[in-house]
């Protein structure tokens, strides 16, 4: 599961990755024509909308791509850097940058790109940007109030608007397509081109087709967590789903077996109940953990059988279904939940006058279990909640 840094790619190797990504970034920007200020500002005077086309195409492709990565659990979105939202700082900063764009003719990335091919104005621009950072640094007491006010955390736009990720992505794609259309009209008008904006040539038809596919693909990657959580709301579905069960006796037996290294108890109760009574070999888990990178490692340990427990069997079922849908193997649930386990094992009252040999055995085993398991629980130094050592990547500028 991504991001590959820092597990598969070390932090030092990441610098080499940065260099390679930078080279590709530079080539694409330069090939697209971002190395000339005249082309860049054309967008604001209506004669050349290249920047708008490249920028929004890249934005929507990346947006849908990231949704795809998230959908297929290829990347743990909780570890990906999401730019924080400082409302006023962001707006004022953006307006200043906009002013800088029409005055200076570049933005930082494009100025580096233009300077690389010898544009002197771009080199001057970089000097200016350098001085600008110093102005900000030295005048920090002046800016600090604005810089730190209205901190809204790191929400994602669809969360802010309280809509589904898919609809938001769809709106963004449609917005981009409309912007392309409108830009072409303006561009033709300013440049005195009389040809219609959209002509039935293979080029325009393929762009239109790709645009429509992009707009629709906003819906093919539903957010995994939202859709799976909704899936398990259907009670009949949950009850009829085929999951391996473990009886309370079998569960107790495996808890008692000291040599058993297979059992791994995944506990879905809340932290308070868990700290009161945590079973040996157990890990506290939450629904969110199922979608995260590090907790995933716990579930993916080879040769382990993961027994999902919760107070009631229904919750266990729901979680097990989600885990199953996410592709985890060797998942069982405790029959009847911990409620049944408490009643039938921990608080076991022996059957008086057992009628057959089975009941005799049951009496014998459960009496023993009821005596020993509480001791195990007492002595248990459980691993507690899943430890998450990885933090969100620090990104941004």
């Amino acid at each position: 599961m991504g991001p590959l840094v820092p597990d598969l790619i070390s932090n030092n190797l990441n610098f080499i990755v940065a260099l390679i990504i930078g080279i590709l970034f530079g080539v694409i920007l330069e090939q697209a024509g971002f190395s000339t200020s005249k082309k860049l500002v054309g967008l604001f005077y209506g004669y050349d909308f290249t920047v708008l086309r490249v920028f929004f195409t890249a934005g929507i492709v990346a947006m849908i791509g990231v949704m795809g990565l998230e959908h297929f659990s290829l990347v743990d979105i909780n570890l990906v850097y999401v730019n924080p939202t400082f409302l006023w700082s962001g707006i004022v900063g953006g307006l200043i940058m906009g002013l800088g764009f029409v005055v200076g003719g570049f933005c930082p990335g494009t100025s580096v790109c233009a300077a690389a091919i010898g544009k002197i104005d771009a080199m001057i621009f970089i000097v200016g940007a350098f001085l600008g950072v110093l102005v900000f640094a030295e005048g920090y007491p002046l800016f600090e109030g604005l810089y730190k006010t209205s901190n809204l955390g790191s929400p994602r736009f669809f969360e802010t608007l309280n809509m589904s990720q898919n609809i938001f992505a769809f709106i963004m794609v449609v917005f981009a397509l409309a912007a392309f259309w409108f830009a072409s009209i303006v561009e033709n008008k300013v440049n005195g081109v009389v040809k219609p904006v959209f002509r039935f040539t293979p080029y325009y038809l393929s762009i239109g087709a790709v645009g429509i596919i992009m707009a629709l693909s906003a819906f093919i990657f539903p957010e995994r967590k939202a859709s799976l959580t909704q899936l398990v709301e259907n009670k009949e579905f949950v009850q009829s789903y085929n999951i391996d069960m473990m009886t309370v006796d079998e569960f107790a037996y495996q808890l008692l077996d000291e040599r058993d290294a297979k059992l791994q108890v995944i506990d879905f109760r809340n932290e308070k109940d868990y700290s009161k009574m945590s079973l040996p070999k157990s890990t506290l888990f939450t629904l969110d953990n199922l979608f995260e990178k590090e907790p995933n490692k716990v579930l993916s340990v080879r040769h382990k059988i993961n027994v999902f427990v919760a107070d009631d069997e229904l919750t266990e079922r729901k979680m097990a279904i989600i885990a199953n849908e996410l592709g985890y193997k060797h998942i069982k649930i405790l029959q009847g939940g911990l409620n049944a386990f408490n009643n039938q094992i921990l608080n076991f009252k022996p059957i008086e006058n057992p009628k057959n040999i089975d009941e005799v055995y049951q009496n014998r085993f459960r009496t023993k279990a009821a005596a020993v398991i509480p001791v195990l629980i007492q002595n248990n130094k459980s691993s507690g909640p899943v430890k998450k050592t990885q933090k969100r990547v620090v990104g941004g500028c």
Binding site: T50, L69, M97, V103, K119, A129
Partner: protein, 172 residues
């Protein structure tokens, strides 16, 4: 030799989008640019006046945020070095390498130089307030649908269109 034509903008956009997806998959972060300039600025000030940086809040907070160490051992510094190399190679292949000061037809060299300097300066300040520039805040922010990134993106475009009229003589 004549300059080669530029790439189709939609194709360039798709390639850039794919690069951004790859970047997020590998590193968990997006692209950027202004952060590298910031790292260089911090390094220069630190080298020239170490006592000043130790006593100034901005640099203290920068150090804290970036875990101390050399500010040039920074992902964006490497990435932007890559951009320089990549753009140079691309310019070389397409015959666009040339020392040239580009300006609008109705403006003087002096105004263009001042404009570039002041424009850069505005970006320097603005990208700090916006916590990123067109790459780091707007493009990468859009990829992960960050509220802050998208708001900053619209603010950049709004600002540019708002002020474009007053600076039209610079360009057309």
């Amino acid at each position: 030799m004549e300059e080669t034509k530029y790439m189709n903008p939609y194709l360039a956009g798709v390639l850039l989008g794919l690069l951004l997806i790859t970047t997020i998959y590998i590193t968990g972060r997006g692209l950027g640019a202004s952060g590298a300039i910031k790292s260089y600025a911090v390094t220069v000030v630190e080298t020239l006046t170490p006592t000043h940086t130790a006593n100034t809040k901005f640099y203290q907070e920068y150090g804290k945020e970036h875990g101390g160490g050399n500010p040039l051992m920074n992902w964006l510094v490497f990435e932007v070095t890559g951009v320089l190399i990549g753009a140079f190679l691309s310019g070389l292949i397409s015959n666009r390498l040339d020392f040239k000061l580009e300006k609008g037809p109705r403006t003087t060299t002096g105004i263009r130089v001042a404009g570039a300097l002041i424009g850069g300066l505005l970006w320097g300040v603005g990208s700090q307030l916006g916590r990123g520039c067109t790459s780091g805040a707007a493009l990468s922010g859009m990829a992960v649908m960050s509220t802050g990134g998208i708001i900053t993106m619209f603010a950049i475009f709004a600002g540019a269109y708002l002020f474009a009229y007053f600076f039209r003589k610079f360009w057309i």
